[in-house]
């Protein structure tokens, strides 16, 4: 009887370990949402853009995704907040007139699967 109970406990523990290992794969086996297009393009030289826009590979969460633009000294130059477009895959940020110089776009994108990715790229205003 005791042996039988011990066997059951071991069996259940083994079952739990196996199923546990199985599902380590299932929830997170995918890549995070990543940028597919930027406007202005990364490392490009442009006239002062009226908006900065980024398009992502998947849908993003408006409450947790945002863009900011800083100048070469690190000061934030955008006056408005960024907004997520109707397709839920793009973000736009209205820009004031920029003086010539190097600017850095800082982006944070939280995909609908809750994964957060972030990065930055630069463009130059001539």
């Amino acid at each position: 009887m005791i042996q039988s109970s011990r066997r059951n406990c071991l069996s259940l523990a083994f079952a739990a370990i196996v199923v546990f290992a199985l599902f380590l794969a299932v929830p997170s086996a995918f890549a995070h949402t990543h940028p597919e297009a930027m406007m202005p393009a990364a490392d490009s030289t442009v006239t002062s853009p009226s908006v900065v826009m980024m398009h992502f590979s998947g849908a993003i969460e408006p409450k947790f995704s945002h863009l900011t633009v800083t100048d070469a000294t690190g000061h934030v130059v955008n006056k408005d907040s960024s907004a997520v477009g109707g397709d839920a895959k793009s973000m736009t940020l209205a820009m004031p007139t920029l003086h010539p110089g190097v600017y850095i776009v800082n982006w944070v994108a939280v995909s609908v699967d809750s994964h957060r990715s972030q990065g930055e790229y630069k463009f130059t205003v001539k």
Binding site: L12, L22, S28, G58
Partner: protein, 303 residues
Amino acid sequence: MASPILFFSVLLAASSDASYALILGIGLAGWWLAAPNAEQPASPPSAYPLRSLLLVCIGVLMLAHLVRPWFLAASMSGSTGFAENLALAPTILSSTHQGTLWYLNSLGLAILLVTVLLGRKPVAIWSAIGALCLIAFAKAASGHAADQGDFTLTELTQLLHILATAVWAGSVLISGLIILPRLARHAGIATLWTYGNRLSQTVTWALIVLVLSGIYTSDRELNNSLPALWTSTWGKILLIKVAFVLAALSLGATSRLFCLQRPATGRRTTLLLRLILAEAIVMVFILCLSGLLANTAPPMANM
């Protein structure tokens, strides 16, 4: 996300998913034990410790569900602060895709708990099946499969993959490690054979769905590029995993063709139990490789 939070987040997901698979396995085992049988079952379903295990699994699912908003907040904000993430939880529940799915999952869990308390009434059984499908959908829609929108082919495939995986893992483990050894000791061989055939048929269908949905998902993650199978690390691991899956399929087919489809004998019973044990061991390797795949960036990330 910081490593300890990532670790506990994975632990949380794994605990709830393991519980989900075992609940499906328990449900199927109970059904097979209670189904009409040519031979009178030596032990009624109540003779197995399934109900206690079922309640434990539901308890784990509910506990994981209750703390999930905090982990979602940590993932979305990138913060490790307990109070900060706790304060963000209401925003997540009220205004994100994950929040909507959390409420859907709550509904599924509530229905599941009520149906388990109701017992074996037909309405309870059908409600439990509906609740389990609802929970599986919430899980499928909470992954990257939902990035292209809800109710897409990708999301449907992910739903089928989750259900098939749970049926396979849950029924083989519950049956192979709890039910079949007991039947071999205490019931007639004919009863064990009848049960084994029901298990084998169900697992065969689950594996077909699992393989087809797995091929679709892998193709998507390989970015429709077959050479990525042998040029990327993710692809190489996938190839090794496929080899182990083929080994598991061979063991399953052997137990079906050389044991269950032939007259029941004591020798074949011993062989059957050993084959199922071997299948479980191969499954461990498959699962370890799956874990490795999960933590390796697929070629899709380099699009």
